[in-house]
């Protein structure tokens, strides 16, 4: 009995380990099980619709934690979503390139673009009852002048020199030179209440008072768990949402979030960068209850070269050959399940987009690539393609690219490192080439072009005066159309030179929202806006 006992146990042990290893990889459900999911979930939705008593609280699962509460220092997509609900800026960006009045009703700039006057909306109050006027604007902008390390300041306001109160409802913002991104910058600067801020300083944020003029007000944030908001009764914009309460839950594990969505514990699952393609299959069978919404974003995965003297990529033909050898479409189809090929760094939803622009270097042509590479002096020097763990599907993408280019004569290997490590490497130029993802808020290429190209924040050592001058002008020119054209021209150079980076793909993000939940805006720049969230029972199936 004992020997048989042991053998049986060994067999079971092996089976178990095998089972858990295989199950570990995916997380997809089978047909049979998904059916059960529909049944249960369908019931839940029906119950709500029938009784007409759909809960007044809407629950949304987010894929990332919020860490920084300060609206002037937290600039992640999640921060953006929350700030947009709790606060207003003088102008509101629609994240598709458009801007509209928010706390300012009108504005004008001086001839030289260094002085902007904003006329403020009257009759607005913060959620603590404090009245909104020019003092609050002054307090807000002065803060950014005093502390340029605040993210909003360093990202947008390096040319901000002063802010002046003209009268209670008129404010002047002063710059030391004109900037082309003025509207975007203003839209990114949320107005905080001056009396409260003078009284308690940053405790206003960190002790969770968060008085703002937005449609919603903060109730509570518990680190790693949830962030609750309720209607702001002081809001100047009428908040007639069906929902009284918006409950954001931080769910870092995709399979768990999807399971929560299916069971009805949450009403939507919004993931930064979208829900991963191989996880979407978990939603199979819930088509009546949940809508999967694909968003073509302008978030771009790009590959940047180290172009300094002596590196293999100093030679433009080497870069071009590299680019031509990459089968972008196959990567899009097989690794990501969706997306588009950007020519250069501009894409359909960004500035500088030219639908007519084509380039041989962005066509997959291994023959031509190989021929081109042979004309160069590249002689099999080892090249490492780097990326970081935060980049979706980094490893698969790098492997595919590596195989592509190795097939035509390159000698590449790959590494995927921690975010902080890659940051360190980029800050000293210690890389051969790397791939990361970049977002362009509102489709404005200012941030990307100025920091990553003109300022060469990541030390690619590629210097092109014509390119830099185009970018510099685009940063200053107040005319949107002019800026658009300048970026278009800049992009042409980038495409032709394949430097300092080449575009690989733009991401298609899939988000999941239960039918009936309306008002969630999934912007093409990758941001989410929940301000107008509402409920329409007629949409529930």
């Amino acid at each position: 009995m004992k020997k048989g006992f042991t053998k049986l146990l060994c067999l079971l042990l092996t089976l178990c380990m095998a089972a858990s290893l295989t199950a570990c990889g995916g997380g997809g459900q089978t047909e049979e099980t998904a059916g059960g999911g529909t049944g249960a979930a369908g019931e839940a939705a029906d119950a709500g619709a029938e009784s007409g008593d759909r809960s007044k609280t809407v629950t949304i699962a987010l894929s990332e934690n919020i860490i920084e509460l300060d609206p002037h220092n937290g600039v992640t997509v999640i921060n953006g979503a929350f700030n947009d609900m709790l606060f207003n800026a003088l102008i509101r960006a629609d994240h598709e390139g458009g801007y509209e009045p928010d706390l300012a009703t009108e504005w004008e700039s001086s001839e030289d673009g260094t002085e902007w006057t904003f006329h403020l909306r009257e009759g607005v109050q913060f959620s603590n009852g404090e009245a909104f006027n020019a003092d609050d604007v002054v307090c807000t902008y002065q803060r950014l002048i005093d502390d340029p390390t605040l993210a909003v300041a360093s990202n947008n306001w390096s040319h901000l020199t002063g802010v002046e109160k003209v009268d209670d409802y008129t404010v002047k913002i002063l710059l030391d030179q004109p900037i082309g991104t003025m509207l975007l910058a203003v839209a990114s600067t949320y107005i905080i209440p001056n009396e409260a801020f003078e009284e308690m300083g940053t405790s206003l944020f960190y002790d969770q008072y968060m008085y703002g003029t937005g449609k919603w007000k903060m109730v509570e944030w518990v680190d790693g768990q949830y962030f609750n908001m309720v209607k702001n009764e002081y809001s100047w914009e009428e908040n007639d949402s069906y929902f009284d309460e918006v409950d954001f839950r931080f769910v870092l594990e995709a399979s768990t979030a999807i399971n929560s969505h299916i069971t009805g514990d949450v009403d939507a699952y919004i993931a930064s960068g979208g829900i991963s393609a191989d996880m979407l299959s978990m939603y199979a069978g819930t088509e009546d209850q949940i809508e999967i919404i694909p968003v073509e974003t302008s978030t771009i995965d790009y590959l940047q070269f180290q172009c300094e003297e002596g590196s293999p990529f100093a030679d433009p033909d080497v870069r071009r050959a590299f680019s031509m050898a990459i089968d972008r479409q196959t990567i899009i189809d097989n690794v990501f399940g969706g997306g588009a090929i950007p020519i250069g760094i501009a894409s359909e939803n960004t500035m500088g987009y030219d639908p007519e622009l084509t380039s041989d270097y962005y066509n997959y042509d291994p023959e031509a690539a190989k021929a081109l590479l042979e004309t160069t002096s590249y002689n099999g020097e080892p090249i490492v393609i780097s990326s970081n763990v935060a980049t979706t599907n980094a490893e698969a993408m790098l492997l595919a690219i590596s195989e592509n280019v190795n097939a035509i004569g390159f000698n590449t290997s790959i590494e995927v490192v921690e975010g902080a490590t890659l940051l360190e490497k980029r800050s000293t130029g210690d890389y051969d080439c790397f791939i990361v993802a970049a977002m362009s808020t509102g489709g404005d290429l200012f941030s990307f072009a100025t920091f990553r190209i003109q300022n060469d924040a990541h030390h690619s050592n590629y210097v092109n005066d014509e390119l830099n001058s185009l970018i510099e002008q685009a940063a200053i020119d107040p005319d949107m159309d002019m800026r658009n054209d300048l970026y278009r021209q800049a992009n042409e150079i980038i495409v032709e030179e394949c430097a300092p980076m080449i575009g690989i793909l733009t991401l298609e993000a899939n988000e999941a929202i239960s039918y009936g939940i309306t008002g969630i805006q999934l912007a093409s720049d990758g941001f989410f806006l929940f301000k107008d969230i509402d409920y329409d029972p007629s949409l529930v199936k």
């Binding site: 009995m1 006992f5 146990l9 079971l12 042990l13 178990c16 380990m17 089972a19 858990s20 199950a23 570990c24 997380g27 459900q29 099980t33 059960g36 999911g37 249960a40 699962a61 934690n65 860490i67 920084e68 509460l69 300060d70 340029p148 390390t149 993210a151 360093s154 990202n155 960190y206 518990v222 680190d223 790693g224 768990q225 839950r249 931080f250 769910v251 870092l252 594990e253 399979s255 768990t256 979030a257 399971n259 929560s260 299916i262 069971t263 514990d265 949450v266 921690e418 975010g419 902080a420 490590t421 940051l423 360190e424 490497k425 800050s427 941030s447 920091f451 990553r452 924040a457 990541h458």
Partner: protein, 307 residues
């Protein structure tokens, strides 16, 4: 005798904690990656990064930074988190109770099942109950935590709709993560209980006790049990310590806001003050547990303090 032992152990614990604080400090400072750069982002110029490093005190020699940090501890100041921009102590202690709760629940659930199971299996070695106990144990030790966690959610939350999928806090949220974490320990303790019991039952003193006419049921549950318990307590104590360090995988899967996930996040952000303090807090928790385990063992087994 006993109290001397306790005092000596406390002294050792203090020394261990000091060493941990030094090692933790060195480790995070050696790792490549600059917290200033992480906080300030891509738009930061090199000058801005330098200025920020100065603001954080990172330009000073390591030993100065270390003693400043240690000095702060005695005032209850564990530093300021560069990612949260809030006091580290506040963030850690908002999450730590969740980890403690999960740890206690896990240990409780696993012990309640596995100690009796192991003991019974040991007493009835070779019989059906032994087989099932060993099956239970092997399954537990070969399952991947991720798989078990996701499976639990799938079965109990999605299919059976008995429990919620996500959340931190009360009993209903606690059950699935505690079972997921606890099963592998249950497995270990069952095996230990069983082998411990088998070893004990072989001892002369058990035969001698039976020869005194004590019923075997009493011998197993009282006179052999105490002896078999000793290795179990040691292992459970160790596991307890490990879990107090936060069970990252389970916390992530179940959205249980504990310090495991916090540590992960902090390391990724090179949040020096947070990482150092977390490591110290975790080490302190483990050291205290070890101390308690040693004290309990010393109470159970008098040979420890008397020999």
């Amino acid at each position: 005798m006993f109290w001397k032992f306790v005092l000596r152990r406390i002294g050792q614990t203090v020394i261990v904690l000091i060493c941990v604080s030094i090692i933790a400090f060195l480790l995070i400072h050696i790792a490549p990656g600059d917290p200033a750069r992480i906080v300030l982002g891509d738009s930061a110029t090199d000058e801005m990064v330098e200025a920020y490093r100065e603001k954080l005190g990172l330009d000073q020699p390591l030993y100065v930074q270390y003693f400043k940090y240690i000095g702060g501890i005695f005032k209850g100041d564990l530093g300021t988190s560069t990612s949260y921009q809030q006091p580290v102590a506040k963030i850690i202690f908002s999450r730590f109770p969740n980890t403690i709760l999960l740890t206690l629940a896990t240990v409780l659930i696993s012990l309640v099942i596995s100690i009796p199971l192991g003991i019974i299996a040991g007493v009835h070695q070779g019989k059906a109950i032994d087989f099932f106990a060993m099956l239970f144990a092997i399954l537990g030790q070969s399952m991947s935590t991720v798989w078990l966690g996701v499976l639990n959610i799938y079965i109990f939350a999605v299919k059976l709709k008995l429990l919620p999928t996500i959340g931190t806090g009360g009993l209903e949220y606690l059950i699935l993560p505690a079972i997921t974490l606890g099963y592998p320990i249950s497995a270990q303790v069952t095996r230990l209980g069983r082998s411990g019991m088998i070893d004990v039952l072989r001892e002369d003193y058990i035969t001698a006790t039976l020869a005194k006419g004590i019923p075997s049921s009493k011998v197993y549950t009282k006179y052999a049990f105490k002896n078999a318990l000793i290795p179990i307590i040691t292992i459970v104590g160790m596991q307890l310590g490990v879990f107090l360090g936060g069970a990252v995988v389970v916390e992530t899967i179940f959205s249980w806001s504990g310090i495991g996930q916090l540590t992960n996040q902090a390391v990724g952000n090179r949040d020096y003050a947070m990482v150092q303090s977390l490591l110290l807090v975790i080490a302190a928790a483990m050291a205290i547990i070890n101390l308690l385990v040693d004290i309990i063992n010393a109470k159970i087994d008098p040979r420890i303090t008397l020999q």
